[in-house]
Symmetry: D2
Subunit: 364 residues, 4 copies
């Protein structure tokens, strides 16, 4: 049930007998984070960093390091001390690099989005299965203590029936002409929902609205709506143009409501034992308000969460999946479910109408 | 330019020469607030409260009061010491009561929504014009110092071009089988937008999504989307089922962004001198992030706002409009623009598709 | 155990059989609040308001009221329909007015501070006992749901052993040449501590530090320190010159810590199940930090509190004490314990050294 | 005026011509942070880490590193490629290690507190002067953008006359039997005040109150009071037993007040253009409140601050001081002023009375 937390706690610092060799491909912003986490993790031995720009790779590993710096992927994939590769290059290269790495017998961790099309993603999944190698996607937020807590709370039924989900992820963002705000930010919301909702995220329709008020050439403000059950809407607001940083998810339940405020480290998760109870009988009373509403105003609980870096847990899960020869928590199928919804958002934007989806789970 | 603030400041407490007589019809929750404000306002003499339930009216005025308590509207409207009436009864009675009051020569303040249909509202407006009487709708939020500030800031162009508007109004609410969450809460958002946007709120399309996850018989969670200019979306989230109370509006601008957080009295309005600047030239640089984005990270200003009760300013504006024989700031046309959008939300919910609107302003 | 909440809930609105007649003396800022609360409370019939300035009294009761307006206290005290008087006049008049009211057979509610000297207060208490009348002091905060909650939590031992109390009450305040910041603000902190600490507030020493940085002629910034048990310090910071409004009390406990943040209505009280555990054994380990510290990082609970106006509960308690012929929760002895500490603060300021106190409880 | 920011911005990443060799002595919690910052800084080449426990040093530098690991300080100090050493060992070793390093011709950065006694500190300062080497103390907070901003604001007179300073630094802390809460936490407050107050921190008296409510063997809760000018009090509250983390400093001024809230990254500094204005004339008006008080309720400005790691700026300043052959911003004299106040707190705790200090500046 909790393989990654178990596996990471069973290993102690300095126990270097069975470290796995890993290389990071791409030393930009995210590659730098991966380098730092692989380097400090007891399960891993970071043997090489590969980048077309050797100076950039050199800066990332820093001085007085013997980590190998390569600019040739083939050279990297030919090495026998590399068990796994982490691909942190632009999305357009994910498909080809992953297939090459799998063909060379490497396990693969790939940044989101896994690929640029569903066909590419399916091909990558098939290739990994054929090669008997782990294919993992870096849905980082799924490895935060907060998301783990939400997943457990929903699985345990702590909230009662789910009534709605509201997710807001807005901030000054990186306006990029080739990726709109949905493809940049919504993978976080979608992968989290896929991870925490019992049964995963498999809406039957999806509706997207987006605007480009700056004339940037791509949508900078967007709203996604998906029914995740009858009369239960998940709504996602993504926005690159907000100087206020909001990262909040509300999971409204019939018994309790969970609020995750990720920019408040002192109180990331709050569980409200509050709600609206419907009357069993409604009378035509003169004072409608009194007759039709019943509040439950219970306590709020702020659970203690460990402060643990998500990326460290994530690379630990990669090691565990490789050793235990199992699928990682965020595998290619999860990546594909997210990709299918992003593709649907493109369709909805193009047509201005909701898009029907086949059941993501059966498709995956 | 600022008639209501001017008129209210020119009058001093105790200057009772020219008080206007007023009666409140309906002594429920909102009627109670009106009674308190008319009673304490230097422009008004509250002469009577009218309610079908005399005991309720008695409780509202309290002991040792000589305010008349009536249960018969005709008796009330026949009185010569009543210059204006404030109608705080259920929405289904607004149309008939307003017409009777206007016929009796009274000025009328009516709660939102002004009526149940556009035809009714149009008839009320026509009747007021014919009678030469003021017809005012109680869009209370328009009389808060914060909304006044926003109106002035937008009129002055302080934000640059408007890029988007995002409004969230969620709380544990009064689930009512005969009014959905849009009709209950969105009048606030819509009347505010109508008040602050230069030119008013006149979208060409409107799209509504709503759910009834409790099985309450009506939508309890809703989202409204309206383009208020090309590529400029106003989005409104209304929700009766949130134990967290959020009342926030963001007005994103090309120069500055204004955030109104109405549940934070110490910092209701923040003006962010921050934003995203597009590069004039885009190159195909290796590091996309550096080339395509330019943040402006300036200061945030929290303007000092007076703490003044909106209802008091509102009843002051009613007196000023009567005396100056002019339309009040929130007149029947404003009410009708809001009503038109609420009606459109019903259509959108019914069809599941965006609804086209004629231009509200020409229609009004 | 909870007389006031019981008594107020047992009475219903409109049950006017046994209303008690009351008059408010003094219609300034606080008198206005008292008028509003007596007027709306089911236990009370506000029969008169007495002020040297009749116009001010008239404004406070408003138009169309039959509440009597008097400027002569003797006339007021002679009335048989006045069971109790509430004295909201300057502190220098409290002693004389209270004695006159008691002599006339009235029960008395008096604003804080009860008097200007301990001798005066003692005389007032004795007079009330001799007359068989209630003497109550308006320690308003003691009637808030939050303070009630804190009192119950401490009485139940929920926090374990008390380790420290830290109270901050700072805001832009009313600089008055005749009252320093201790006499203006600290009565709140001291009366609350007296109310919630099991056994009341009876420090053996008190130390005060105050400054007058504006040259206002009186201390505007102050700090009070009082050991409330061996090695358990209560510290109070009062300040008229802070543009930030802070009203926070922390009750640190060996098991839990309670934080009361009175300017955050959504989360006034938080109970932290967190603390520092001392090791039973200390070793001379190389890493001191690991060996000498043990954190307990449990959940935080935010209890649901009713939003109830404290003044309404306070006037209800006055009625209950009169009817039940008992001392009110905040009686003359409580007032005197607070007064003794304020007097001690004067001594400490004058000498620049801590002041020894006799045990307040035995003295009271 | 701003040597460190100038010097750090004039150097670019990868410009390795004139890197300075540095070694870190002590690889505990703080040594780890120093290692990370020296390693990533363009001015420095981290050549060695020295620790009595080689395994600990190995963990700190990580795998695949050629940074030398030493356990012998003499061996380290004999190396010619080491220009400076950073001493992050227990306080009791600072004096001896610093003298040895200076004797070997090294520049020295030493953790706070610089030494255990004023005599030791004076000896260290003299030795550095004699050797012509930089002696710098790691007052880390002085290198944060927030503290830099405060220093500039006070130097420019933006706040008008300083009225009071209130500093709160409370959190669950490391209870250590050999260091009390003053020596652990107050060096931060004192070094910050020394850095930002024009003229430095040189109170003529200091008063300390501390308690040990847990029976930990040392003070865990403490309050410091120091007049920094006539009628201008600086108060510091330090506390290891608070589950709420507060790191707030208020600088009250006659024109503006600055609040630094270090646990709120989105709004660390707020400048309130609010205050209390004294009337020029006071009349004996009936309403004291109106006559004696005048609020100024202006805007609040939240200045944009860069998010920059303080330790990185600090090690940059060390390099600049060495190259420019000048004293660093936080030199031995600053350390000694802080040490003098900590020693005074010991005296005040022992006697229970305020302690007189000679003028720190002349002494330094």
């Amino acid at each position: 049930m909790r393989p990654w937390s178990a596996s990471s706690s069973s290993r102690t610092v300095g126990d270097s007998v069975d470290k796995l060799g890993v290389a990071v491909i791409g030393s930009g912003y995210w590659g730098t984070n991966l380098v730092r986490n692989f380097r400090n993790h007891p399960d891993w031995d970071l043997v090489a960093v590969c980048d077309l720009d050797p100076a950039r790779a050199a800066r990332v590993v820093g001085q007085r390091s013997t980590i190998d710096l390569l600019s040739d992927v083939d050279e990297l994939l030919a090495r026998s001390d590399v068990t796994a590769v982490a691909i942190a290059t632009p999305a357009s290269t994910h498909h080809a690099l992953t297939l090459r790495a799998l063909a060379a017998g490497k396990h693969v961790l790939v940044e989101k989005p896994i690929a640029e099309s569903l066909d590419q993603a399916a091909e990558m999944i098939t290739a990994a299965q054929a090669a008997g190698r782990v294919l993992m996607v870096d849905h980082t937020f799924c490895y935060t203590p907060a998301v783990r807590y939400i997943r457990d709370a929903l699985a345990a039924g702590d909230l009662g029936d789910l009534l709605y989900v509201d997710s807001v992820r807005i901030n000054l963002g990186l306006v990029q002409p080739d990726v709109n705000v949905f493809w940049d930010l919504a993978p976080h919301d979608l992968s989290i929902l896929d991870f925490v909702l019992p049964g995963g995220l498999a809406p039957q329709t999806l509706s997207a609205v987006g605007t480009d008020p700056l004339g940037a050439g791509t949508e900078c403000v967007g709203h996604l709506s998906m029914p995740v059950a009858p009369e239960v809407l998940a709504h996602v607001h993504v926005n690159w143009l907000s100087p206020v940083k909001v990262r909040q998810m509300i999971f409204g339940g019939s018994r309790r409501t969970l609020v995750w405020d990720d920019v408040n480290p002192a109180q990331r998760i709050s569980i409200y034992d509050r709600g609206v109870d419907l009357p069993t009988q409604r009378e035509n009373a003169s004072d409608r308000r009194a007759s039709t509403i019943s509040y439950r105003l219970g306590d709020v609980v702020v659970p203690a969460l460990p402060e643990r870096e998500a990326l460290s847990s994530m690379v630990g899960e990669l090691a565990a999946a490789i050793r235990e020869e199992r699928a990682p928590l965020t595998d290619g199928h999860a990546a594909m479910r997210v990709l299918r919804l992003l593709s649907a958002s493109d369709s909805s934007l193009a047509t201005g109408a909701p898009v029907r989806l086949d059941d993501s789970r059966s498709a995956a």
